[in-house]
Assembly symmetry: C2
Homo-oligomer: 681 residues x 2
């Protein structure tokens, strides 16, 4: 290989940014994108490309990154990332390596382009109400793909709403939300949704403790009345729904349970869950008490919850629970008595707990500690068996001996948060404060996969800026691969054109298709539609999406033909039981019927089906003033209702540009006023 | 230059797709992206890049396109595109040439990531209600940037809601919506929002005729009672608001007015507006009448509305109007009597009317006619002066002689829709049915700018697929540039990984930084969050966005310091006039106060301000169960209210990952039940 003969004046400086600590040590600036001194060579690139590179200030490394990510028209991405949308309430689908957002999936927040909550999905959204109070958003945190034998199977996707403690189910045949379920005992979750290795259960861990059922209790009664929890939602794969009747929760001390992970392979049947605020701090900065930010960091160690989930499920089946808000809860004392729950001390305020592909190790990162701590499941099990407890927590939960469970501690850097794995025996941990991604080597059975000594730092790549989670394809499963890594950076600051005071997040694609210290940043993707937290990446060929709905008359909520769907030739308006039923079909480029005449005050039930069979032949359908808009994909049937309380003349139309004659695809809804003087003169 | 020495087996076939016509003639397949036979050479690219190209099946043209679009971390896009979001109700901000969506701007649809409608902006959204019926979406069609002397000035952005006939105003200092105004006389718009050359007025043209004020009238009374309209909203640049008191509408015949454009330079003071359905077809496919799609295409010609807007504004000032729904409407007969309105016949069912940069020509495309028709403003003015009328329409509007106004007709191809201009004397028209973008040469004063004969086709580029609008930077202004063109394609079909039956649209970036026939496609951007219709592209340096709000305590709705904003040290809970006022501050990483105690049934008024001064230091703030979520950018103050009707314990928290201690940035809202038995035991 020739060395670089082509030099550019532009060398991007790695902007050091450590907002809280001012620390930026250990980050090798030479690994930043755009650094002309790195190794790839474009010594004799074609004149056309050279001219563009010069004009645009691109380095040889930039061109290489472009070649690795640019995806020409019609070529498909080979990996698909599902990212939570944070407080947008949605999920984003992003293709790799092009880093293009392919679509959003409406989940907790109504979204009219998809018709979600505007005539479609209304019943599903309503399931998520809190005591009859409508909720029209969520704070999605952790999407989780369904698994078979601990590997993504591409069938379903689950996600939690931290703000209101709900879980949603998305069917990956049509990429639409099928269920939203409100947790009956808590108002706050975080450690979810995580599946067990065969998706028998979807796990929802808590966050901010409240009295169970979020009942009122003054903060002074925190220790007595507030509680944490973890809920196990039974998943019925056949029906594609969580089955509340077979689900249950575990009562936990009022710590703030945080991220959770299922065991796998050797640790299958166990659940590991972090916690913070084992201090049980209750804040009160207004009364000169330590604010939560200080109060929850007083102790050196918090507790990794080790849950014998198999045993917990048996206790549930044996009826050893009480009901809270009519939901089965296995009481904390029962968990202690039956040996379901114990703790391992962990460096304080950890964020992630991540289990290695074979299930051998649980890795935690106290975010104020520069190390990751690696616990051995085998050692932990031995410690449990041998009752190597050092103490009990204030609620009587036995605490295991830290050293008896520990396999290793590796000093990575400042602010370690989350860890993912690849197929080469490496682990990758996000370092929020540096900010950087750190590659380090696993030991044990993984040591033979890489040349480095076990449990050592291999390399670091600076990221821009303030990384939270990171994601590797299959990086939390039994079958990780190691081609890409996506750094999910919370702040973008100067990375993109300033779109006012509100800036996008920055997803950085990092090349980990190698060994050793170098992991170049390939691409920066602004996320300006939400604030993603976690993402999972799956090989595209594991997904089997429908191209159209299987048959005309398909009801996506039922995932079946709907007998109520109008058939071509049977379009009509029918009055029965005090309701006006409209049976309408849509096809390029007209609705049938085109005139709907009703009287003010009538209840209208509108049935509409898209008769198309071509891919991408979507029709929209809106009713002005009545806040109705649908997205009817090929074959889709929807039904919506409203009371025609506002009289007048309302032109309905297809809101998708479906054909050259799309403007003509319309009709009139005439609502005759009961007061004749209200009509047009 | 050396010819290609590097050959790839992969040659992408241009997929011919003409869903309605089956026609695909005249499109040169050789210009498609990924065709290895085209001219750029990468004969001796570096081994690293060559290896990646081979592995990924990239052609030399692909690499060139990658070099032209790839934007390394921290390099900023040089152009910014504002695209309507269609029935998503939003606006999307996209950077060029990287084709990355930088953020969405919430407009008509509540969006919790931005807090829009979840505690912020609620009053603005409420302004858009229809007769008290809440609307939580819109069908945004045509974003329009404010102009000074006919060129974008980067200050404001306007957009219409076709479904409910509303117009919104976005301030480009903070990229947030400041006003939503409901048109008082119509339920449907399309030809808007278009500004006059100095943004004195924002024009909103109609679409589907209804009785004025959308009152009830049976379809049989269509000709007598239904009417079209165009509304002129006076814009107060100082206040950044549309001023309803100085605004007015013109009554038009019940055709379906379509796109509109202001005159500029020589034609300043005039408005041109297309129409379809001059047949006044009323559909009725259910009664074996021709459906709208057939009925509105019976006549060969529709009418280009030529409006002497300067004169109309004078009539309004002179009080020559009547009030409909309390809004001034200049009656059709007055428009005729005063010579404000006349028609030019235009080939039927046109979509766009686009005025050349100097204002000399109005270009229309009957979408069922393969030509674009070029009208001369000078000739039109002469025809009006000389009263060259050939007939009157059924309402008495004079119809000008087509030939007297016509400058040229140019045969472009199938399904011409919209036209934009560059700085080299070319026009670009979207051809929906081919589908393609056609470059053609202007005549008159533009002829000297290009080597081709005037009014001839220069080149075509196939697009994938079904193009609607297209956009060139400044392409509809007095100062177009010609670096890029974005084809806004409605169907993507096979371009991206299939995300279920609902597919994204496809924005294709096309290189027009050249002359002659070749215009290569550089990039495909999936739009999976809405269905954009039109977009405008502005040079990035024309925008002057704020990096943070100017001062702490800033109220974005007022764009001023809010005296109600809490100041640090004055945080408190205050009961007055039967309301609980909470004065709260937010700063990394705590809220003050952290405990809020209220009693069930109390009305809560919550004041909260973000004290931060750093760029990107946004805090979120949510109240569970009460459907509240804010995005508080640095300095921002917001106020929201609710009745504490549901008792319990509700953990509020910062929904933005703002710092390493973001999980600790929380507090408790305690709502004490009036029924003591409802408290936790």
């Amino acid at each position: 290989m020739r060395r670089i003969s082509y030099k550019l004046a532009v060398v991007l400086t790695v902007t050091s940014l450590a907002l809280l600590s001012g620390c930026n040590k250990d980050v090798d600036a030479a690994k930043a994108p755009g650094d002309a001194s790195s190794s790839s060579t474009v010594g004799n690139t074609s004149p056309d490309v050279q001219a563009v590179m010069q004009e645009r200030g691109l380095t040889p490394d930039d061109l290489l990154a472009a070649a690795k990510t640019y995806t020409p028209s019609g070529k498909l991405d080979d990996h698909i990332m599902f990212a939570s949308g944070g407080h947008s309430g949605q999920i984003f689908v992003i293709g790799l390596p092009s880093m293009r957002m392919l679509r959003s999936i409406a989940v907790f927040t109504p979204e009219p382009w998809q018709g979600w909550g505007y005539g479609a999905g209304n019943d599903i959204l309503k399931e998520g109400d809190v005591n009859g109070k409508p909720l029209t958003w969520g704070d999605t945190h952790h999407p989780n793909l369904s698994e078979t034998d601990g590997a993504y199977d591409g069938q379903f996707l689950f996600v939690n709403d931290k703000a209101n403690a709900r879980v949603a189910v998305v069917d990956l045949r049509d990429f639409e939300t099928k269920q939203i379920i409100k947790n009956p005992i808590t108002m706050s979750d975080h450690g979810g949704a995580f599946v067990t290795p065969n998706t028998d259960y979807v796990i929802e861990g808590g966050q901010y403790a409240t009295p169970l059922g979020w009942k009122y209790a003054p903060i002074e009664e925190y220790k007595e009345k507030y509680r944490g929890m973890v809920t196990a939602w039974k998943f019925d794969r056949e029906k594609g729904r969580l089955d509340q009747a077979q689900s249950f929760a575990l009562e936990l001390p009022p710590y703030w349970q945080d991220l959770a992970s299922s065991g796998k392979k050797v640790s299958d049947g166990w659940i590991f869950m972090n916690s913070i605020n084992t201090e049980m701090a209750t804040g009160g900065v207004e009364d000169k008490k330590p604010p939560f930010e200080a109060g929850v960091s007083q102790r050196d160690m918090d507790y990794l919850h080790v849950i014998n989930f198999k045993k917990a499920a048996e206790l549930f089946k044996a009826g050893k629970f009480e009901k809270v808000n009519n939901f089965p809860v296995i009481r904390l004392q029962t968990l202690i008595d039956e040996g379901v729950l114990c703790f391992i001390p962990e460096p304080k305020s950890p964020h992630g707990v991540d289990v290695t592909p074979g299930g051998e190790y649980m890795i935690v990162s106290g975010k104020l500690d520069p190390h990751v701590t690696v616990f051995s499941f085998e050692k932990t099990l031995k410690a449990i068996t041998e009752k190597k407890y050092t103490s009990k927590d204030p609620y009587g939960v036995p605490v295991l001996d830290f050293d008896a469970c520990k396999e290793a501690q590796v000093e990575l850097g400042l602010g370690p948060l989350h860890t993912q794995f690849d197929d080469k025996g490496y682990a990758y941990t996000s370092l929020f404060l540096e900010p950087a991604v750190c590659r380090w080597s696993l030991g044990g059975a993984y040591a033979s996969k890489h040349p480095e000594a076990p449990w050592t730092v291999v390399g670091k790549t600076s990221v821009q800026y303030n990384i939270g989670h990171l994601s590797v394809p299959g990086g939390d499963t039994t079958e990780p691969s190691g081609k890409y890594l996506v750094a999910m950076n919370k702040w973008s600051i100067d990375r993109f054109f300033q779109t006012g005071p509100l800036l996008p997040q920055n997803f950085q694609l990092i090349d980990i298709n190698n060994t050793g210290e170098k992991m170049p940043v390939l691409y920066d993707l602004p996320i300006g539609v939400g604030e993603p937290h976690y993402a999972q990446i799956i090989k595209a060929d594991k997904l089997k999406p429908w191209k159209t709905y299987p048959q005309v008359g398909w009801n996506p909520e039922k995932q079946a033909i709907d007998p109520e769907s109008p058939k071509p030739g049977t379009e009509r308006i029918e009055r029965r039981n005090g309701e006006v039923h409209i049976y309408m079909t849509a096809v390029r480029s007209h609705f049938t019927p085109e005139h709907i005449n009703v009287t003010q005050g009538e209840k209208v039930v509108w049935h509409i089906v898209n008769l198309e069979r071509a891919i991408d032949a979507t029709h929209g359908f809106c009713v002005p003033a009545y806040n109705i808009n649908l997205s009817l994909e090929a074959g889709e049937y929807e039904k919506f209702e409203f009371v025609a309380d506002l009289p007048g003349t309302f032109p309905f139309y297809c809101t998708e540009f479906c054909s050259a004659l799309h403007l003509e695809m319309m009709g009139y809804l005439h609502i005759k006023p009961t007061d004749a003087t209200a009509a047009a003169k």
